[in-house]
């Protein structure tokens, strides 16, 4: 049997529901993130929850383009609040897709781990650098977070929480498979 690589209706719908989970994770974590003045804190709080849904989506859809399909609608909706959020969400998704396309998708646990790690690390770095550049350009504020001694721990913690999100996501994948609820091609 020849395996087709076109997206089907069930893939779009599944991706949309995973996007809902990611959006809910953002709604739950962002108010807390706003009161903690640490670079990359938004991603650090968001990643463990969002990582569950991202991993689940990767496990079910598996193909290159999955991360973009899940995060595209999230970026579009949050872009109505601020278009910069769209860039912070979708540029790392594009980077992740480009890297993961080299290994042909998210078919194994290891690939899903790398997919999560690359995405959340890119979000932290992109978010921090984007915020610094944006603040400097818009307000002339010299924000001291470009200091590598602040970026390094933020990146390391982001890696850890991305791993945590992936691990929790894989646990859910295993439970769904055991219950016969997840059809992994």
């Amino acid at each position: 049997m020849v395996k087709t690589f076109s997206w089907q209706l069930k893939d779009y719908v599944f991706a949309a529901f995973m996007a809902m989970g990611i959006l809910l994770a953002a709604v739950v974590t962002q108010p807390i993130a706003q009161i903690i003045p640490i670079p990359g804190i938004r991603t650090i709080l968001w990643a463990p929850l969002a990582g569950i849904f991202l991993t689940l989506g990767m496990a079910r859809l598996q193909r290159p383009g999955t991360v973009f399909l899940i995060l595209g609608p999230v970026g579009l909706i949050l872009g109505l609040i601020n278009p910069i959020i769209t860039l912070v969400l979708l540029v790392p998704a594009l980077v992740t897709e480009l890297v993961m396309a080299l290994v042909a998708g998210y078919g194994s646990r290891t690939r899903r781990f790398w997919g999560n790690l690359i995405y959340f690390e890119a979000t932290v770095l992109g978010g921090v650098l984007g915020t610094v550049t944006g603040l400097t350009a818009a307000f002339g504020i010299n924000v001291p977070v470009l200091n590598p001694w602040l970026l390094l721990p933020a990146g390391s913690v982001a890696g850890l929480v991305a791993g945590l999100g992936w691990w929790l996501g894989e646990r859910v994948v295993a439970q769904l498979q055991k219950a016969g609820k997840l059809d992994i091609g």
Binding site: V13, F14, M20, L24, L49, P73, L80, N82
Partner: protein, 224 residues
Amino acid sequence: MKLWAPAVWFRQVNPLLKMIFTLLALALALGLKTWTAMAVLVGFLLLLLLLTPRLPWLGWLGLGLLGGGAVLTYFTDSAGVMLTILRVLAILLPAPVLAGTTPPADLVRALQTVRLPVGLVLGVVLIWRFLPLIRQESERIWEANLLRGIDLKRHPRLIFSGLFVPLIFRMVSYADEVTVGLETRGYDPQAPHRPARAWRGADTVFCALVGVLLVSIGGWEWSH
């Protein structure tokens, strides 16, 4: 809720035009260098805020503060501070204006007419429709835990197994049901896009107002 005539008019403006204006306002907020030009932009946004059903009081308050701030800035040397405050306002205001004056159904319909990838449009439509349902579902699971004597607030380590796992099971079930529902109703993601909505008088008036705004802002920016 009964709306006054200008508010009814502004709700009729094409949501895509409002989205383009939101992006334009953000670009101006980041690009303008004079506080007077920025004040014109913020004043326009505050006037639009008067047209939202829930936040008109914020618009009146903002206009009052803007007037007071402008007088104070004119007589003191605080243009830099005023510019920063106005810039923050110009970044924050467009989203509530767009969200508060656009019915969700109109927004979804407008997105469907744009030639965006089908996954993106279907994703937004489904999120808009089902997000409240998923929220309700999570509340039910929370209450079910309380009935079993488990207060997840006091036992945060049980949140994953007690809330997330059942919620994800429900979401996966919903995804399957929605797919079947869409297929049985003959939904085809590759079907031709809906025709674009007809241009209305409200769209023309809105574009004319934005044109006047841009000319005024350009005048203030270049004359200083």
